[in-house]
């Protein structure tokens, strides 16, 4: 992105390009199927055409628009690499920019993607675009080669391309992308799909590339949603009901309206409680000439809130509720063999309960959105992981045709799943509809922490049984939680478990008698997708429990895992990240991480080295965490060593960056993070109590070791997080003998 706070629309790009005699490729290409399972709600319709924008300029620079929103996961670099590989561009001359949302009506009359899927979630960006973006690059290459072949009257098959230079070997003639682009733009796109490179001919994919937009970031010029502007816009800040699903009994607006610069106060109604969220909460928007006036106006509102249907909810009460549920019988969602009989017959048995709190996404850029509602059109500038969701939900509340709503995603100041929800965009649309001006809505930090869609909280109960020969013969995982699947159309409560327990997760299919049981708990806290959703809880629980079993059996924790995982084989995995789970690949990352970390070496007093591994959305990650615990119970993590197998790697530097991010996110969350509820409202309103980790607690060493056996590419946005908490808990056990079963760790070691 350049320094402008206004965004180039696609039309602007085209105009610029044609004026400068550039080649533009915006070719709808092959079908791209979505992966099955619990992929996040970024698709609006059936599998869609894939294409991309490539602008080749006369000065040899190549502008590539990446379709998915960039929130720090590196798609502004990795997705253009897919195009540039097949284009044979010089990646040093590639600039990248965010593509606006492009939709169309499909042949069936339903809205679909015009060129490519455009959502960021579920670690799917690379897998979704692996074929389509490479084909887009190959198509552009074919046009460039075709233009050169015509110019030289030679056969295109005799032409080679490398780093933006087109060469005819026998005649020795050469030209460049920039020189031939104008001629190439006159050619008809090929009707047949161009051939793609075999893997061994890749020259860019698999090489470490630095982030494309780094200079804009370090100079303060990168444009986030909060930095964008529309001409003539006004500012809005909202006072929302802090009580879950509460309403306003009365409001006194007089003092707010008296604040200089305050223009309007707009009521936003609570959505119906039996349907999906449009906005999350009832509230009043103060519309003003400046952010500051809007904030002061909000502070001056006097609102009497009804405390809503969850007025009695507390964190402690919710924990009791989950414990009570677990004492009964739940919904059995997987039942292999005969767990009860096997457990009863087991020579040794193990049992433990674990607790996971609600946590917040807390992206550092608070929610914000600019919307301009006019009679025939709606313009939206939003930091969103789901521009199509913003389009769909704004269309619904305003009763507009979806194609009349243009959405320009900006760079996101963090997402972590929060920005899959589009409530803040809908709020901005409703406010703009009321005042008929461009409205920039800004959330403050307390808005964000108190009105998040939290990572579900729950209590887990695990039991396992071993026979006299040491073989695990029985396993059960019981979970009571408030699922993130609720208030969704066509989602009966019997399906709520699907978001919280992935029934094919390890050790399913590796234990003869295995039962998975779910209890749907009641809570007013809004829930949603938080980075690596249920894997964060379940990896902690399963990998901690294995460690407890190993300790009780006096068996090495790594050895126990390896013998349970066994030999490589293709197990069925029907949830997101499937269709296959290969336990051999999980064993592979465990062995590599253990070897690189020196796992198993004796540790001095007060130190521990824990290991854990998890299969997340198609990726296999193992981590070895070192911990030092002082006599006062202060803990430090000096080093984390990780092994990663996410199939074919596009950008190894990006893999390491996401692994490091997952480690720090996992550590930050395990150390101190919990959202506390009292009286049906969230009490945490800022980072003074919701204490995100700072550099002093971050590991000084993080090693990422990559296994790339050429398997299909998985993503890397989420996989680095789940193993951290259990590996840490296992290290703490080794260092102190204290077993962490409740998160966050907080002051448990000093108590």
């Amino acid at each position: 992105m350049d320094g402008s706070h206004h965004f180039a629309t696609r039309r602007d790009v085209l105009r610029y390009a044609s004026a400068a005699g550039a080649l533009i490729v915006a070719a709808p290409l092959s079908a791209c199927s979505r992966r099955p399972g619990e992929s996040v709600a970024i698709a609006d319709g059936p599998p869609a055409a894939v294409g991309a924008f490539i602008v080749i300029r006369p000065d040899e620079t190549v502008l590539i628009a990446f379709p998915n929103p960039e929130m720090g996961q590196g798609v502004d670099t990795s997705l253009p690499m897919l195009i540039a590989e097949e284009l044979d561009a010089d990646f040093d001359k590639v600039e990248t920019t965010q593509m606006p949302l492009e939709l169309k009506y499909g042949d069936d009359g339903e809205i679909t993607w015009k060129y490519a899927i455009q959502g960021s979630g579920g670690s799917t960006s690379i897998t979704e675009h692996w074929d389509g973006l490479r084909r887009a690059g190959a198509t552009a290459r074919q046009l460039l080669v075709g233009a050169a072949a015509a110019d030289w009257t030679v056969d295109a098959s005799e032409i080679t391309v490398a780093k933006g230079v087109i060469r005819h070997e026998t005649s020795g003639r050469t030209t460049t992308f920039g020189a031939i682009a104008s001629a190439a733009a006159q050619l008809e796109p090929p009707t047949q799909e161009p051939a793609l490179k075999p893997r061994d001919e890749f020259t860019l994919i698999g090489t470490s590339q630095k982030m494309k937009n780094a200079r804009a970031i370090v100079t303060g010029k990168a444009v986030y949603g909060i930095d964008a502007e529309m001409a003539g816009m006004v500012h809005a800040v909202m006072a929302r009901c802090p009580y879950f699903d509460g309403t306003a009994r009365s409001v006194d607006e007089r003092a707010a309206r008296a604040i200089p610069g305050v223009r309007e106060i707009v009521k936003i109604d609570r959505p119906p409680l039996d349907g999906p969220y449009s906005v999350q909460a009832e509230g009043y928007a103060v519309v003003a000439d400046s952010v500051w006036a809007a904030m002061k106006g909000r502070d001056a509102l006097v609102i009497d809130w009804d405390h809503g249907p969850y007025a009695a909810e507390t964190s402690a009460g919710f924990k009791d509720h989950c414990r009570d549920l677990l004492s009964g019988e739940g919904q059995i969602v997987r039942d292999d063999g005969d767990f009860d009989a096997a457990f009863a017959a087991a020579a040794t048995t193990h049992e433990a309960h674990y607790w996971e709190p609600y946590v917040s996404h807390a992206p550092l850029e608070p929610q914000n959105c600019i919307v301009h509602v006019r009679d025939g059109s709606v313009d939206v500038i939003a930091p969103t992981q789901s521009p199509s969701g913003a389009n769909r939900n704004i269309a619904r509340v305003l009763d507009r045709d979806r194609l009349s709503i243009k959405v320009q995603p900006t760079r996101l100041g963090g997402g972590f799943g929060r920005r899959l929800s589009t409530d803040y965009a809908v709020e901005a649309a409703l406010i703009s509809d009321a005042v008929r001006k461009p409205v920039k809505l800004l959330w403050t930090r307390d808005d964000d922490l108190r009105h998040d869609f939290y990572r579900p909280s729950g209590m887990h109960h695990l039991r396992a049984g071993f026979d006299a020969d040491g073989k695990m013969i029985a396993w059960t995982h019981r979970l009571a939680s408030a699922s993130k699947y609720y208030r969704r159309p066509n989602m009966p409560e019997t399906n709520y478990y699907r978001a919280e327990l992935y029934t094919d997760d390890f050790p399913a299919q590796l234990v003869e008698n295995l039962r998975v049981e779910y209890f749907s708990a009641k809570s007013g806290a809004p829930r949603g997708s938080w980075r690596a959703p249920a894997h964060t809880a379940n990896a902690f629980v399963v990998q901690s429990f294995l460690d407890e079993i190993a300790a009780a059996r006096d068996e090495d924790p790594l050895d126990l895992r390896l013998r349970l995982l066994g030999e490589p084989q293709e197990l069925s995995y029907e949830q997101h990240g499937g269709p296959v789970f290969n336990p051999g690949r999980l064993a592979g990352v465990l062995r590599l991480a253990a070897e690189k970390a020196g796992y198993g070496a004796p540790m001095p007093a007060g130190r521990g080295r824990g290991i854990a591994a998890h299969f997340t959305f198609g990726g296999y990650v193992a981590q070895v965490v070192d911990v030092e615990v002082s006599a006062e119970g202060h803990l430090r993590v000096p080093r984390v060593v990780a092994a990663v197998d996410v199939g074919t790697v596009v950008n190894p530097n990006g893999i390491a960056a996401q692994l490091e991010s997952g480690v720090n996110d996992g550590l930050s969350t395990a150390l101190r993070l919990a959202i506390n509820i009292e009286g049906g409202r969230v009490t945490d309103g800022n980072f003074d109590t919701y204490q995100l980790m700072r550099i002093a607690d971050a590991p000084r060493e993080i090693e990422t070791h990559i296994i790339d056996n050429g398997d299909a590419s998985a993503g890397m946005g989420e996989m680095g997080l789940p193993p951290l908490a259990p590996a840490l808990a296992n290290a703490i056990f080794q260092a102190t003998g204290t077993r962490i079963r409740n998160l966050p760790i907080g002051d448990q070691l000093s108590a």
Binding site: E70, M71, Q73, G74, R411, F416, S661, M693, I695
Partner: protein
């Protein structure tokens, strides 16, 4: 009337002097590299230099900077020549979402004036800005690299 210098340019402000400097810089001066994260001086995304000191502008009223000289991320580099901290950030490829990084860079640039060769413990004591993406591993390496670049290394 508040008079101040922002990135070398003299400016005057005659509005609500209780307004935090953050909003003056972002909305009035158009310097959007200064970021809003928490509003209570916890996260440091709004860090700017006031007379050379790293200050969190979200809790600093405009009235408090009368006569002061303020530098934001936009004024840190010498034209197209990046400040060593900015250069180190690119070389270590620190940023992910990038939202906190302008504040981080301003905090580090000020720290290196006081502590030109910081140890890891110095970094832990002095840098309290939050990075939600968790770029701390590279960030620490970049601080050491920036110190080295600044010394001409």
């Amino acid at each position: 009337m508040v008079q101040l210098t922002v990135n070398g340019e003299s400016r005057e402000f005659s509005g609500d002097e209780e307004m935090p400097l953050l909003w003056y810089l972002r909305e009035d001066a158009g310097l959007k590299g200064v970021k809003f994260g928490c509003g209570i001086a916890q996260c440091g995304a709004c860090t700017v230099h006031i007379d050379g000191q790293a200050i969190r502008s979200c809790v600093t009223p405009v009235a408090a900077v009368d006569g002061a000289s303020i530098t934001t991320i936009e004024g840190l580099s010498d034209g197209e020549t990046l400040h060593p901290v900015q250069q180190a950030w690119i070389e270590e490829d620190v940023a992910q979402c990038g939202y906190c990084q302008a504040g981080q860079i301003m905090a580090v640039a000020a720290m290196l004036e006081e502590t030109p060769n910081p140890s890891d413990d110095d970094i832990d004591r002095n840098l309290t800005n939050i990075c939600r993406c968790g770029t701390y591993y590279r960030l620490r390496k970049a601080v050491h690299r920036a110190a080295s670049l600044k010394r001409g290394g």
